[in-house]
Every structure is written in C-alpha cells, then in structure tokens.
C-alpha cells in the first residue's frame, strides 16, 4: 500500500497538462507524494487510458488463457471423474446383481439338495426297514423250521422211547415171570399183558 520512494512519481499531469495545479515535475523523487495534487487518485482521468489499456491487455490474455487452456483442462478432469464414478457405480450395480443371482442360485441349490437329501434319507430308511423286515422274516422262517424239526425230533424220540418202554417192560416182565414162575412165558403173551397194563 505504501509505494517505495523510487517509484513516487506524479503521472497525472504528464498528459493532461497540469489542470490540477501540480508541480509539473513528473519526477519529484522526494518520496513525498504531492499533497498539493488535488485529484483523488482513483478519480484522476489522466491515468484512465493507461489503466484501460493494460486492463484490456492483461484481462484479454487472462480470458484467452482460461478459455483455451485452463477451463478445458479442469472441465476435462471433472468430466473424467464423473465418468469414472458413473462407471464404477454401474460396475458395482452389476457386481451386486451378480452376487444376488449367486445367492439366489445357491439358495435354490440348497433347497434342491435338501429335498434330495430328504428323499435319499427316506429311501434309505425305507430300504433299511424293508431289509430288516426281510431279515426278520427269514430268521423267523428259519426259527419256525428249526422249531418244527425239533418238535418232530422230540416226538420221534418220544415215540421211540415209548416203544422202548414197552420192550423194557416186556423184558422186565419176562424176567420177573421167569424168576417167580420159573418157566418161560411166550413172548407174545407177555407183550399182550404189557399192552393191556399200559392201557
């Protein structure tokens, strides 16, 4: 805001010809701005052509530079970023769709597998039951057969034993008769006697 003394020059009267009552010396070089110079600097028309010219030059170049270089670049950066974000969002949405589909497929497969597992379990259960039933029947049949055989054998043994009881009784009776009577009784007589007693 201070201006160094080296630059402290009076520019205003140079062109306009001292209408403001200035010293007329454009290079005072004292470092003291001319207080006598009555025009408030921003309203000094003498500086207008120069300021307008340099404003036109500098602002014009600035405008061209921004329009040709900076703005396409910044706009490009922002567009690229927006494109990238849109692209990434699309990508994310697609991945999410894929993930959802995978979850659905997984659940379906899971359900199928469950049904299948149930079916297999049921089947295995049924098969096991049938097998057990068959085994049981077989064992029962075998047992029945064995029982029958055993019964038959028992009855055969019984009949045999009964028959042998008759023979023993006849032998015994003949021995008793022999001992008591001292003579031999006929076999047929004894057998008949035994049979009649056994009845």
């Amino acid at each position: 805001m201070f201006v160094t003394s080296a630059f402290a020059q009076e520019s205003a009267p140079a062109v306009e010809g001292g209408h403001t009552g200035t010293e007329g010396d454009t290079h005072s070089g004292t470092g003291v701005p001319a207080e006598a110079h009555g025009v408030f600097p921003p309203f000094d028309p003498a500086t207008f052509p120069s300021q307008l010219l340099w404003l036109a030059i500098t602002f014009g170049l600035f405008y061209l530079f921004l329009k040709k270089v900076v703005m396409p670049r910044v706009g490009g950066i922002i567009d690229v970023r927006n494109d990238r974000i849109t692209q990434d969002l699309d990508h994310a949405a697609r991945l999410k769709g894929e993930a959802d589909a995978a979850v659905a497929a997984y659940e379906q497969e899971l359900a199928e597998a469950k049904t299948k597992a149930n079916a297999i379990g049921q089947q295995a259960n049924d098969a096991a039951k049938a097998e057990a039933e068959a085994a049981r029947k077989k064992v029962e049949a075998a047992l029945d057969q064995k029982l029958g055989e055993a019964e038959a054998r028992i009855s055969a043994i019984k009949a045999n034993a009964m028959k042998e009881v008759g023979t023993i009784a006849e032998d015994t009776a003949s021995a008793i008769v022999e001992a008591l009577v001292g003579g031999k009784a006929s076999k047929a007589e004894i057998a008949a006697a035994v049979k009649s007693v056994a009845r």
Binding site: Q9, V15, F40, P41, T47, V74
Partner: protein, 252 residues
C-alpha cells in the same frame, strides 16, 4: 512527514514504471499495470500448475481450482440456465481476476487494482457490453422487451419503461462502484487504523500500550477485508450472471 506517512490515500497513487506515450495518450506501464500483470500471472499460474497432474483424486490445490470452477459454473447455470454456459469463460475469468486482484491488494505495500474506478468500470462495461451486443445479436429488436415487463397496464407502461431503462443504465455504474468503493473504503480504514498504531507508538510507553487497540482493530479489519475480497468477487460474478440472463431471456 509523519502526516504523509499515514496518508491513507497514498496507497492509491499511480506511478509510472515505464513511461509510454502514444498519440498524446499516456499509456505508461504503471504500478497498476504491474499488479494487473501480477494478478493475471498469479491466477493463471495457480490454475495451470494446480491442475497439471490431472489427478483423479485431486490434491488440495487441485481441488481449490476445481471448486472455483464448479462454484462459478453452478452460479452461472443457476442464474442463466444451460444456455448461459457459453459465457462461462467470461464469468470465470472475471471472478478469478477480481478475486485475485482483491486478495493481492491485501498484502502490505501491494497496489489494489480494483480500488480504481476505471478498472472496475472497465470490467463492468465489458459485462454490460456483452449483454447488449449478445442481446441484440440473438433477439434483434426483441431484446428491447427487456424494458417492457409483462402484465403492466398500458397507462403505466411509459413510467415502467422509463424506470427499467434507468435501472439498466445504472447497472454498469452500480456494478463498478460497488466493487471499487468496497475495496477503497476497506483499504483506507485499514490504513487509518494501522496509522494509529504508528502514531501512538511514537508517543512513548503509554502510547505503545494504547496502540494495542488499533492494532487489534487492524487485525480484525484484515480478516474482514479477506471476507470482503471474496464476497465482492462473488457479488460481481453473480450480478454478471444475472445480467447475462437478461441477454439470454429478455422477456423475463
């Protein structure tokens, strides 16, 4: 001499650095021109260098440039619609130029380009000139509908048209004076309070103790001026957008 040192007007003096005179006009390269060049150089360099890496994820400086770009872009789109985007380079360069000129002016010993009415008037004239030229190019005489609002009774029309014309003509004046006066007043106030610090300090111990008050004031004013520097650039850009909207849609 002491009075000269605290002269708050001193900072607005124009000094010739390279005297140039063409056709009787003084076109010297002055301190004002120097700071116009500095403004353009700083703004261009910042915008150019901060975006040079073109990062997808911006650095801090790059995001400042992008924010400025999108800020002005949204401002223009809101005010003038998508058709207004053809003026984006103009509004963006106006905003950046005024903003950087205001901010540079806040540095001690720096010249404030926008504290000269002719500079702000030049920018305002550029805006209004663009509005008028583009308005007539696009709508022909239909652009004059700008001065005839809809739904006004016929007997009131002359008065309303007169008011509209006056308001249109005063636009470049208000646009330029607003910026100029804000910068001028702010810098004078700042200088006056800073001058108090110097003057009081010269009075001895008591004066040095007392100079704390104007110093605090100067610090606070500097913060305020920072706000004003941004705000005035924003206001300038917003009004530019609204005036450009008139050029695009003169029928309201």
């Amino acid at each position: 001499m002491a009075a000269d040192k605290v002269d708050p007007i001193h900072q607005f003096h124009i000094n010739k650095l390279i005297p140039i005179e063409i056709g009787g006009y003084d076109l010297s390269f002055t301190n004002s021109a120097l700071f116009m060049v500095a403004t353009v150089a700083v703004a261009s360099a910042f915008l150019y260098l901060s975006t040079s890496s073109r990062s997808l994820v911006p650095s801090r400086l790059q995001s400042v440039s992008e924010m400025a770009y999108e800020f002005v872009g949204n401002m223009l789109r809101d005010a003038a619609g998508t058709q207004g985007m053809k003026f984006f380079p103009l509004v963006f360069s106006l905003f950046m130029f005024v903003l950087v000129a205001n901010l540079l002016g806040l540095f001690p010993y720096f010249f404030t380009v926008t504290s000269h009415i002719i500079v702000t008037f030049g920018l305002a004239a550029l805006v209004i000139g663009t509005v008028v030229v583009y308005g007539f190019m696009k709508h022909g005489l239909g652009f004059l509908k700008l001065f005839v609002p809809h739904g006004v009774p016929v007997y009131l029309l002359p008065l309303v048209v007169l008011i509209e014309v006056i308001s249109f003509v005063s636009r470049p004046v208000s646009l330029s004076v607003r910026l100029f006066a804000n910068m001028l007043a702010g810098h004078i106030t700042l200088k006056v309070f800073s001058g108090f610090v110097v003057s009081l300090s010269a009075l001895g111990t008591l004066g040095i103790a007392g100079s704390v008050l104007p110093l605090a004031m100067a610090v606070a004013l500097t913060a305020l001026e920072l706000l004003v520097a941004f705000l005035q650039a924003y206001v300038f850009a917003v009004l530019t957008c609204m005036y450009l909207n008139d050029a695009l849609h003169p029928g309201h």
